[in-house]
Subunit: 442 residues, 2 copies
């Protein structure tokens, strides 16, 4: 009885977050460590530099060899103050975030008529010059899908919308966040102004704020917006990759490359994007040699500056493009359940592919019929070396509730799903890193 | 075929928010109107004044008589800049909101050691003077309950925590939001500094930020916090109630009083707290006479300045305390499903109570065994006149995900649940407003 009373008394003193034990895994340690001890780590920032040091120290401690920080410089966006409010027909503060590479407003902001476009197509149809002196608002209707397929088409509002509006004379652009949540946490991400198009201030408002603008637009009354986005695009900022090896029994065989990205957007803490990815690939690499060293070297790449233009992936391909690689994989879609595997493997690797399918099928993971593409950070090395690729597709139904928002925090990582990811990756790495024969895409 | 093609083409041009038809009800109109055309309406602010004018015009348009704005003045809190960040052992920005009546930091903020208390009890146990020059952090473990019962006990961290810390020497207090969500949207609300206790800066961080602080505290490294809360408590700000009647067939009978509050916290738009309440009681009052006038007058009270100290309820009781009332009800717990009715009715009203129970039971609403209490805004008139009371209890499982946050927006109101509320209220008002005999609490 006494022991029950003591447990009750203790738990009354402990908040929920501390009363529950944290998982004792390498993967949890990494994602908890990055989000707790580093937090936001924007490409080119001092925090990203701290993250590189943290990563190198952690990888050494975990037993990796050849741990290296490989520096490069980037053009990045340094956030300032982000504010917006409707000033007509109603006074309403809006939750806004600047997009990466947004143009800069004066410190006091700008104020102008706000023109509502329900879709990118509607903006495309606007006559040349019709937005002169105005701010464009671009709406869309992105919905959550398991495979994340809404992000490509609806993300155009973010990637190309501001430039398109600028070309029609707009002095600013605001978009509905490219996200599927209903919280006042707008989604950032880069926008692109092509050569010859002057960058205009560009931001995203949260979905509830976009709903408000849509309702007001429906009333047909002229809208005005006050917009202050004082961040600046800045050249030559320091960034870098962290690369480390688990050297195989036969170091002469081309290594298996597994990647994630270390940088995160500055408004969240990079838990699901992409602390979880680094956690998954690193823990799985270690577990793949729990019964002794694997035959092949497994190399982990924690890439820098992915978010603002995949600079780390390009730097890796440049530096390591002449070293042979066997196969590349990346984890950069959160920490949801792995539900599908896609492979890009040549005919001679069919027996290995069948073993992978069978092993994953036992975990409820289906083999898809599409060609594996790899992730952003391994894209350049895959293209350069025409590498074999395996994709472990994660369930992304909730991903765009959190992606690139302030809500990307550790509590969003489910330890059980993280563990499912690590185990699926471990199964795949155990097979491919012990394959003695050639591994090739064709 | 043509018509299908056109519909498809049109819907491709329309975002989701505009493609779905809005409900055509008085209740939806009110909550959509208040959140869209007014938005945040803090007690004592110009927005609250606009809301009173909006309310009076809307109630007149809806056919109410004796529509009156009844002014009073209040001591309220005018928000400034709210910022906080951990500066040691890790640099981490935090999502914070000042509590109402917080003390004011210098414009550049304060920086000090942050001392972690897992519970209010732990803070109570801290020795006198032990917080001199420090900032207290108060954690807790509030969970979501259908009846909202966590808010009372765990809300003590917000209501009394800052004053308690101040009495032990603290120069600032930060609490875990009194809320049950996991978003970077901290929950505000008033805190109280008793006579003789100097107000210190006091804010709430979001749950993910509180989780972070708890994790760092667990590591045992000293923490430091930079805190900037520049808002100010301000005296003699204009506020007021809006009162309106649906005059009954027998105006000599004491009226039924139904209340909500018009003011909202400034960081959200007051959709569930308490635009929905005003929508529900007003629509139900109108529907209760859809088959002809009710016997008794139904009076609606859209109270001002509830959030900062229930000033509207006190002003109503002062101004109308000598007029007889039959019964009071209030809706101020969101827009969740009504699941229970509680009554405070005398023995002579037993037949009426049984009819109410039977009618609501047909809607799946249970009759509870507790004494009805009424809401905050009718508390003073109930106490003064010992009024009969009926409470229609709403499901509050999700309420403290949104309450007093930026996320209190229109999209959180489910039209079907709002309609269920209005129908339950209509049933009850149809019975009580047509009761010819005396209605009394005892
Ligand atoms: Zn990513
Ligand atoms: Zn990303
Ligand atoms: Zn309320
Ligand atoms: Zn409230």
């Amino acid at each position: 009885m006494a022991i029950f009373l003591r447990a009750a008394a203790l738990s009354a003193l402990l908040p929920a977050s501390m009363a529950s034990a944290e998982p004792q895994t390498v993967s949890w340690d990494i994602v908890a460590g990055l989000t707790t001890e580093i937090g936001p780590r924007l490409a080119g920032s001092p925090a990203e530099a701290r993250a590189r040091d943290w990563a190198a120290a952690r990888l050494r401690k975990l037993g990796f060899s050849n741990v290296a920080i490989e520096p490069f410089t980037v053009r990045s966006y340094v956030r300032g103050e982000d504010r917006a409010r409707l000033t007509a027909p109603y006074e309403q503060p809006l939750a806004i975030t600047a997009l990466g590479y947004s143009g800069t407003t004066p410190d006091k902001g700008i104020e102008a008529e706000l023109v509502y476009f329900p879709t990118m197509d509607a903006l495309r149809a606007a006559p040349a010059g019709s937005l002169a002196g105005k701010i464009a608002f671009i709406d869309h209707a992105m919905k959550a899908n398991q495979d994340g397929s809404g992000y490509g088409p609806f993300g155009a509002a973010r990637r190309q919308g501001p430039a398109l509006a600028a070309q029609k004379g707009a002095i600013g652009t605001v978009i509905r966040s490219v996200g599927t949540d209903s919280h006042r946490v707008p989604h950032t991400g880069v926008t692109t102004f092509p050569e010859g198009v002057t960058a205009i201030p560009a931001g995203a408002v949260s979905n509830p704020d976009a709903d408000l603008i849509a309702r007001v637009a429906k009333q047909g009354k002229p809208m005005r917006l006050s917009l202050m986005l004082t961040g600046r695009t800045t050249e030559n900022l320091p960034s870098g990759n962290v690369v480390a090896d688990l050297v195989g029994r036969d170091p002469s065989l081309p290594p298996i490359l597994v990647a994630c990205h270390l940088d995160s957007w500055d408004i969240g803490t990079g838990a699901i994007d992409d602390g979880a990815g680094c956690a998954i690939v690193t823990d799985a690499a270690l577990r793949a040699q729990r019964d002794g060293k694997a035959l092949r070297t497994i190399r982990v790449l924690w890439a820098g500056s992915e978010e603002i233009g995949v600079f780390g992936g390009a730097a890796y391909a440049e530096k390591h493009g002449s070293e042979p690689h066997a196969l590349a994989m990346e984890s950069d879609f959160g920490a949801g359940r792995i539900w599908k595997v896609e492979m890009k493997l040549g005919a001679q690797n069919k027996p290995m592919a069948e073993r992978i399918s069978a092993t994953l099928a036992a975990m409820g993971i289906v083999t898809g019929r599409d060609m594996a593409g790899g992730g952003a950070d391994v894209g350049a090395i895959i293209a350069k070396q025409k590498l074999a690729v395996i994709d472990l597709a994660q369930d992304g139904t909730d991903y765009f509730n959190l992606h690139h928002t302030a809500d990307d925090t550790l509590d969003k990582v489910d330890p059980a799903l993280l563990e499912q990811n690590v185990e699926a990756w471990t199964q795949v790495l155990s097979i491919v890193a012990n394959e003695p024969g050639p591994i090739a895409a064709e």
